[in-house]
Structure formats: C-alpha cells, structure tokens
Amino acid sequence: MANIFWSNIFRKGDSELHTIASLWQATPLFSNIPERQTEMLCSKMHVRRFKPGETVFSQGDQGAGAILVLEGTVRVMANQTQLAQLESGDFFGEIALAAPERRTADATATSASRLVYFLKQDLEEWIEYEPRLGARFLMNLSAALAQRLFEANKLIADR
C-alpha cells in the first residue's frame, strides 16, 4: 500500500500527461525532442487553475518559467495594449527559461483556465539527465526567442 505521506496525490493522470506532452510537442520548443522524453519532462511540470480575471503574472514580477495554456484563455497586455489572446496549446513567458529577467507584460486569465508551468529549475534538472536533448531544447528556445524578437521588431517598424 502506498504511503499516504509520500504518495503524490496531485500526480497527473496518464491521459492528462499525454495531452500536456502533445500540446508541448506541437510547439517549436519541443521540435525534434522524442515523445517519451517530452512526457518524462511533462511529468515534472505543474498544473494550476485560474479563475476568470485572475492575474497570472504582472509586468516586473520575477519569472520562474514558461507557461502553456492547457484549458481556457489568457490575455497578454503591455502598456495598456493587448499583445495576444492565448488559448489551449499556446505558450508564453519563455524568456524566464533563458534569463533571470522580470516579466515584460501582464498576463490575465480571461476564462476559467488551467495553465501548465514549465519551471527553469525543472529544465535545468532535465538537462543534467539529458544533456544532448537539453542542448537541442536550448537551440529551439533560442530560435523561439529570436522569432519573438523578429516579430516585435516588425511590429515596431510597421507603426
């Protein structure tokens, strides 16, 4: 019998884990990362529930990792301007995986949402387990950040 103290009562069910892994695999961050490894990494992620209108993070907050929308919708705003309306499968806040920078925008749940936190600490531990795949992931992360920068520059140039 499992020990009550040590057993994980929040353990994610297999189907949910599979859903989370599928959503992450569809993002550029997990491009060319094998499904089994993605699932192993996803088993360490943290699912949080948010009420409609609840703040996910605010500009200037210290960020601990990237966030994936599992269910619901999230609005991202900066300086009173809406930058994005995110839904299931979208991710945001990935700068925190790369650098200890503060959050650059406000994120608010616009409906009852479930968000998956992928913490920098979990990424670092995973890289220790899987250095080669970790290097591949970091290349994907660099590409994603470069793409965001390119889009931001384009937005500024268009104005």
Binding site: W6, F10, R48, G60, Q62, G63, G65, R102, Y129
Partner: protein, 352 residues
C-alpha cells in the same frame, strides 16, 4: 502610501512568518534534528551520483540502493578501522588529563613568578590554578561523557539515517512538489524562485564544507604526525570538524592542540609552537586554496553577521545550531531579498 503598505513592512511581516514556521519546525523535530540534518547532508552529497547512475540507464531505486550500499561499506570501514583507533586516542587523552592539569598548573605558576619578579605584581596563582583545574577537570569529564553519548547516538542513527536518506533520495522531490502546490497562484513562481535559489546555495555549501572539513582533517592529521604531537588523528579529525564553525572553531582547535602538547612527556615547548604553526598553516591553506576552490561564494556573510548568527543559533539549538548558523543565515538573506524585490515591485505598481 500608508506605512503598513510599505514594502519594508510587508517584507518584514512575510519574513517573520517564514522564520516562525522554520523555527517551530526545528523545535518540533529537535529530538531528531541531528539524524535529519545528517540525512539531508547525505542527500545533498549522493543526489548528483544517483542522477549520474540514472543518466547511465540504471533504475532510480537501484541507483539509490547502490548509493546506500556504498554508504554502508564506508560506514563499516570507519567503524572497523577508524573508530577503534579514535577510541584508543580518546582513552589516551583521558589518561593524559591529569598531566594536562599539572602542566597547566606549572605553566601558570611560572607566569606568576615571572609577573612577581619583573613587574612586582602579586597574583594569587594557586587560587586561580585551583579554580581552572576544577573547571577544566569537570569540563574534560563532561566532554568525555558527551563523546560516549554521541557514540551511542551514532549507533541509533546508523539505523535511522540510511532509512531517511533512502526516502529523501527516492521521494524528496515529489514531496517538495506536493508542498509547493499548496502555494497560492500569486506566490507560486516567487515561491519556486526562492526555493531554487536557497536549495542551490545550500547544496553548494553542504558539498563545499564537507570537502573542506575532510581536507582540513587530513592536512592537520599529517601536520600533527610530522611534528610528533600526541593523538594526531583524533586532533586532526576534531580540527576538521571544528572548521565547520567559522572564526570560533579554529581558536578552539588551537586550545585543544596546546593542551595535548602541554601534556606530553617529556614536555617540549617547541611542539606547542609547531602545533600552532600547523593550524595557522592549515588556515592559510584553507583560506587561499580550499575556500576559493570548493566553497567559493556559497555563503557570502559579513563576519559580524556570522558571529552573531553562531551565538544566537548556538543558544537556540546547541552544537547543531552552531553548525547550521551560516547556511541558515545565508538562506534567510536570499528569502528576504526575494520577498523584498517582489513587494517593492507590487508597491511600485500600486503607486502607478
């Protein structure tokens, strides 16, 4: 902005809660604090090796068992070979206590005569000597009793520590995640950041000081052997352990080495100077080579903070508190700076 909303006050309130929870937890587990601390230390030491084995396709449970078997072999070797030698040296020290007392009396009488002849100072050395002798005798006896009790406790811990270490290696991260899930959404990321920073610093500190103690113990044991001081291995081991207590530890090491040197027959004053030279050389080596290489900036504390922390933690939790003072204060500094940064940001936003 009212003073209650000031980030300083908010930080202080939150930090006071964190400290109260930590101190209450320490108090609740005070009877098993030593095995818990040892188990966490072993966890910090063995976790990288366990991860290494897992990375090389070993099953997680098997990797932990390999680590525990390694721990068992090292423990058996220590008990089989090192402990009898240490017991002999403790017995030797016990038999030398009367000689140490006599030598101390002789030294003090000599200094009394010197003071009387040179400066005309009339110091009642005999009374002072009697008082020191009775104090040192009772201290020596109580120290020996404590050593015996510690050895008995060690046998009990020999069962408890591997048990706790096994479960820490196996389930600590899962239990930690469960605990962190209780944080509200607003503090979730901040909580993880603080945990991450504190655990990284504590892991680095634990691994660093264990290696530092070992190096100091070997250095001093060799040095004491070379100068012909009695019980070199025991003294070296004690000096290595005392090195865990900054500033105060090396001073106690010098006093111990001087007492043992003073009890040697025939008495050779040169051994005393050489013993002090060994400890000073060890400290120089420690500060110039060992600390920059293995402890680095794991704990960056002002000497006044360190001394005050040692005194306060020592009075609260005894010997264990003295050893835990430095990492606990360093962890406290990280917690308070992270909470303050968050509160200051929240305060700025509310003003805007």
């Amino acid at each position: 902005m009212s003073w209650e909303k000031s980030p300083h006050i908010q930080t202080f309130k939150l930090f006071a809660i964190v400290v109260a929870v930590c101190l209450s937890s320490f108090y609740l587990i005070s009877s098993v604090l030593v095995p818990v601390v040892i188990s966490f230390t072993l966890y910090a030491l063995f976790e990288p090796a366990t991860l290494y084995l897992v990375r090389h396709n070993f099953n997680h449970s098997l990797s932990i068992m390999i680590m525990l078997v390694f721990l068992l072999i090292v423990s058996v070797l220590i008990i089989g070979f090192a402990l009898p030698a240490l017991f002999d040296q403790v017995t030797l020290l016990q038999s030398k206590l009367p000689q140490i007392a006599k030598q101390l009396e002789k030294l003090l009488t000599g200094y009394g005569e010197f003071l009387a002849n040179e400066f005309g100072a009339n110091v009642d050395i005999s009374e002072l000597t009697l008082s020191i002798l009775s104090e040192s005798s009772s201290l020596g006896q109580s120290a020996l009793i404590k050593v015996s009790n510690s050895l008995l406790n060690f046998v009990i811990f020999f069962i408890l520590v591997p048990f706790l270490t096994y479960y820490l290696l196996k389930d600590f991260k899962r239990a930690r995640n469960d605990l962190m899930n209780w944080l509200p959404n607003s503090s979730f990321e901040l909580g993880w950041l603080i945990y991450h920073n504190v655990s990284r610093q504590l892991n680095a500190y634990t691994r660093g000081v264990m290696l530092q103690s070992l190096i100091m113990a070997v250095f001093c044991s060799l040095g004491f052997s070379l100068i012909g001081l009695d019980i070199p291995v025991l003294l070296g081991a004690i000096t290595g352990m005392l090195n865990l207590v900054p500033y105060v530890g090396p001073v106690i090491s010098v006093i111990l080495a001087l007492l043992v040197g003073a009890a040697m027959t025939p008495f050779e004053p040169s051994v005393l100077y050489l013993a002090v030279a060994v400890i000073i050389a060890a400290q120089i080596f420690d500060n110039l080579v060992v600390i920059p290489a293995v402890v680095a900036h794991a704990v960056d504390l002002h000497p006044v903070q360190a001394i005050l922390g040692i005194i306060i933690f020592g009075s609260l939790f005894g010997t264990v508190g003295v050893i835990l003072a430095m990492p606990a204060i360093a962890a406290g500094k990280i917690v308070i700076s992270n909470i303050y940064a968050d509160m200051a940001n929240a305060s700025l936003k509310s003003v805007a």
